[in-house]
């Protein structure tokens, strides 16, 4: 063992972790933080520098300028001084309510969600009831019952917090329920952590962005509600806020007297502060859901190029991919597909094998031009050789031509069969959609007959047409997706991990179905998977992909028996054979007898 004396014990770097919880810098965040900082400083320090806000002077409604940068009120009070004190008052209430409401929502949302059972049901019912009872009318009623002299800022804050926590509690509960089932929570329990520690150390930190966003939300809610209450004369009696300022402005007929400098600034401060918080919330939302991050502006349209279809090398070829390159145009561009060339023959199954991140899915999408920004095709060509003799340069198709090309010549069965069907419309609607778009002249009866026919082809009862996707089992859904791909009798079908999420017996059934249909109908299949043994059994030819390049390409038998590239050999060795040798797997300590070759 290495000697690890105290001198070598490095103190852990604590800061680094929190950094991952901080929002990414963006102009929005900058503007938001700037607004908040300016207004908060104004509220905090402003009252120290401005004069007494209540001093009455004999110069009512002076327009801004000179001694009074923001003019004066009806009674000659300095508006700037009032604004500074009022901002402080509003911020005070906002913070108070923000803290109280967040505590309440955390209690009901997180504790309820984590504990579960009866506690959760009771908490959740309570928050839902509080949620649907309209808050402000309740606040108005409660405030009206409290005599004005007993209505301090604490009373108002408590009432606002009580009526404003429920929405956050619901959000937090949903997230806690989802975190509770995470494996790391289970792992902490297996490690022997106590429940309170699991909540505090394992669950809570991952809720921080959400808590922060809910806190910000409560602060905005509180400042707006308090302003409303004060405007109605129901606010706290012992504090002046932006709301009370507006109340006096309104009662002094500020707008009717065109004293905009009295009326506009308080509202503007509220709006800008709320806007600043909302902008910060955007950035917090982007931590919670990274998909919301800004993406670079799309180029207006990809440059239309002149069709230059690759020549047919022989009549048997249906798809030629020639030196295709796809690049993800991010800060440091990623070359996901590098100069890939492939040919797909009519009626053959070409297997494309590779591990996650090797570019196989990007390649498949690019063939049908389904790639999304920031992915961009930077070179090469894709040519479809139609049965009727036409050669189509897929990359040069205009949008309308591309739309007509898709599915009628080339259909795609996507990874994750579970999500390829729209959950809220019926199977029939999703099948008929294709026919309505591509075969506008087809009669209703004919459409229906065709849908039933394809379902029968894949072994699904046509009565299932009326079902919604969630009413079907995983295997059945994947069959429906394949049926959908058959609708227009395409010449090429791209299948991206079509059976990965399925159990092995179901998977086998679907693979047999694919092979049978291929034999009967004669479409060509580009079959993408990480499961090399499956391809060896299924495919006619196999291409192995690594880091965006095809490293080996040949008939399945040959790839199986005489793999040339070391990566192919490594992949083959990674799958211990069911009935044969165990490959590179070492159980007892001694290496496998015959290296990798089997």
């Amino acid at each position: 063992m290495t000697d690890l004396g105290p001198a070598t014990v490095a103190p852990p770097r604590g800061r680094a972790g929190w950094r991952s919880m901080l929002p990414r810098w963006s102009p929005k965040l900058g503007v938001g933080l700037g607004l908040i900082a300016v207004i908060a400083l104004f509220g905090l320090l402003g009252p120290l520098f401005v004069g007494d806000p209540v001093t009455i002077r004999d110069l009512g409604l002076t327009p801004p300028g000179g001694e009074h940068p923001l003019g004066t009120t009806l009674t000659g009070q300095d508006v700037l001084a009032q604004l500074a004190h009022s901002t402080r008052g509003s911020l005070h209430i906002g913070l108070l309510v923000g803290v109280l409401a967040t505590l309440l929502s955390a209690l009901f949302g997180i504790v309820g969600g984590y504990v579960g059972g009866v506690v959760d049901e009771a908490f959740s019912l309570f928050s839902n009831v509080m949620l649907v009872i309209p808050g402000l009318p309740l606040v108005i009623v409660v405030s009206a019952f409290v005599p004005a002299d007993q209505r301090g800022s604490w009373t108002v804050a408590v009432v606002l917090a009580i009526t404003g926590w429920a929405a956050s509690a619901r959000v937090l509960r949903a997230q806690t329920l989802s975190l509770r089932t995470r494996d790391y929570v289970a792992a902490a329990r297996v490690a022997g952590e106590k429940p309170w520690r699991v909540i505090a150390v394992e669950v809570l930190p991952n809720l921080l962005p959400l808590l922060a966003s809910q806190f910000v939300f409560s602060v905005v809610y509180a400042i707006l509600s308090e302003a409303g209450l004060s405007f109605l004369g129901l606010g706290a009696s012992n504090s002046s806020t932006l709301g009370t300022m507006l109340y006096y402005a309104q009662n002094g007929f500020a707008l009717q007297r065109e004293a905009w400098w009295w009326f506009v600034p308080p509202g503007l401060v509220i709006a800008l502060f709320g806007c600043g918080l909302a902008l910060v919330n955007f950035s917090i939302d982007e931590i919670i859901n990274p998909g919301l991050r800004d993406i670079p502006r799309r180029p207006r349209a990809e440059a239309v190029r002149e069709p230059a279809p690759a020549a047919r090398t022989d009549d048997d070829v249906v798809l030629t991919v020639d030196r295709l390159s796809v690049v993800y145009q991010v800060d440091t561009p990623v070359h996901a597909v590098k100069d890939v060339s492939l040919t797909l023959r009519r009626g053959e199954i070409l297997g494309l094998a590779g591990e996650s991140g090797c570019g196989k899915t990007t390649l498949a999408y690019a063939v049908d031009r389904l790639h999304r920004p920031p992915a961009e095709i930077t070179g090469g060509s894709v040519t479809f050789h139609d049965r009727d003799g036409e050669d189509v340069d897929v990359l040069a198709l205009r949008p309308e031509e591309l739309r007509a090309f898709r599915w009628s010549k080339l259909s795609v069965v996507f990874q994750g069969a579970m999500n390829a069907l729209n959950p809220v419309i019926t199977v029939r609607a999703q099948l008929e959609d294709v026919l309505i778009t591509h075969r506008p002249g087809m009669s209703r009866a004919a459409r229906r007959a065709r849908c039933e026919e394809v379902l029968r082809l894949v072994g699904v009862d046509p009565r299932r047409l009326g079902s919604f996707p969630h009413e079907l089992s995983g295997g059945m859904r994947q069959r429906v997706v394949i049926a959908m791909a058959l609708l227009l009798d395409p010449q090429v079908m791209i299948m991206d991990e079509p059976t990965t999420a399925l159990d092995v017996v179901v998977q086998r059934g679907i693979l047999r179905e694919i092979m049978r249909l291929r034999d009967e109908i004669g479409f060509a299949v580009l079959f993408i998977t990480h499961d090399l043994p499956l391809l060896l059994e299924l495919a006619d030819r196999i291409a192995v992909m690594k880091d965006g390049e095809i490293v080996e390409h040949g008939p399945a038998e040959q790839v199986h028996r005489e793999p040339r590239h070391p990566y192919t050999r490594r992949l083959l060795d990674s799958f211990p054979s069911l009935t044969g040798e165990r490959g590179a797997f070492v159980r007892s300590g001694e290496p496998a007898p015959s290296g990798g070759a089997r």
Partner: protein
């Protein structure tokens, strides 16, 4: 069926909770509202007969020897009969009459404005989310300013600019007072004309929230496999956007309607006040200013029932647009 039973059950519980809250709030607060009320009533020349006093006591609580639970049952009985007491500020009209007169104004104004704002927000949000990565992204931060503006402030600014300044709209009121309310073109036209500015206020202040929620869901939905499949199917762009992406993205907006509805209702109460609109919000504030506790509580209950009803309708609608709710528990 289970879904419906659960929803109805939930709203019954919520209604009961609101009634109970209404019963206990005055009892928990300092002061003796019944005395204040009776004094006011006497001032207005109302006869303070024992029956009226008892009704107020049930509503507001008083130091009677009657056990709380009996009071509570009698109170629930009164509520079930629709007996909300007599309004002090509009004496001798019963509270139910005052509410019945003002409720339609609010229902139409807030109902239409909310619906309009929801539809506008959802449609714009769907579009902005779908066209992500274009100049439309710039709209998103802009909406937050609108959402953070206090309703009443915006209303007053709009009044100053569009009504006082340009004279395009009337300053206040629900209709031209020279007209008699009735179902004739003149009156309805006048009501619509008077309602435009308040409605505009509500729409401008609330549309940002819907827009943002829909846009964010649209962004998530666009990344789903079924949208990609729909594109690969060669469907028209508009069809993919509406039938596949927006159709799914709108679900959380509908489900979250309850949360936002509360805010809209709150904002519109104050908006009504600004416009002296003859709706229920103005009446609530009038009641507050006159210590008309009976009217205040009656209005609170009616607003609550209306919000609960709207939420129930939305929940039932949700079951129609999301088939998955009908299947499971």
């Amino acid at each position: 069926m289970r879904y419906y039973a659960r929803k109805f059950g939930f709203y019954l519980v919520a209604l009961w909770a609101a009634l109970t809250l209404n019963f206990f709030v005055p009892r928990l607060m300092p002061g003796n509202p019944v005395d204040v009320l009776m004094a006011k009533l006497a001032q207005r020349g109302g006869t303070v007969d024992p029956a009226a006093r008892r009704a107020y006591e049930l509503l507001l609580g008083a130091d009677t020897s009657e056990p709380l639970f009996r009071q509570y049952l009698s109170y629930l009985g009164n509520m079930a009969r629709g007996d909300l007491g007599v309004s002090v500020s509009a004496f001798p009209a019963p509270v139910s009459q005052v509410i019945a007169d003002s409720l339609p104004w609010t229902l139409v104004l807030v109902g239409l404005a909310t619906l309009l704002s929801f539809l506008l927000g959802v449609v714009l949000g769907a579009f902005v989310g779908w066209r992500r990565g274009t100049w439309l992204d710039g709209l998103v931060p802009a909406t937050t300013v609108l959402a953070a503006v206090p309703y009443f402030w915006l209303a007053l600014i709009l009044v100053a600019l569009l009504a006082s300044g340009l004279g395009w709209f009337p300053l206040m009121g629900g209709y031209d007072v020279v007209l008699d309310p009735g179902w004739n073109a003149d009156f309805i036209g006048s009501a619509a004309y008077h309602g435009t500015l308040p409605a505009l206020t509500i729409v401008i202040s609330s549309v940002g929230g819907w827009l943002l929620g829909m846009r964010n869901m649209m962004v998530s939905t666009t990344a789903e496999d079924y949208v990609l499949t729909a594109k690969a199917k060669g469907l028209k762009d508009s069809r993919v956007m509406i039938r596949y992406a927006a159709r799914n993205a709108v679900l959380p907006s509908v489900a979250g309607f309850a949360i936002s509805l509360g805010f809209v209702v709150a904002g519109s109460i104050i908006t009504e006040q600004v416009f002296s609109y003859p709706g229920i919000g103005s009446k609530l504030l009038q009641a507050v200013q006159n210590n008309d506790y009976a009217l205040m509580q009656g209005i609170f209950l009616v607003i609550t029932v209306a919000v609960l009803g709207a939420n129930l309708v939305v929940d039932l609608l949700y079951a129609v647009i999301d088939p998955r709710t009908r299947a499971g528990g």
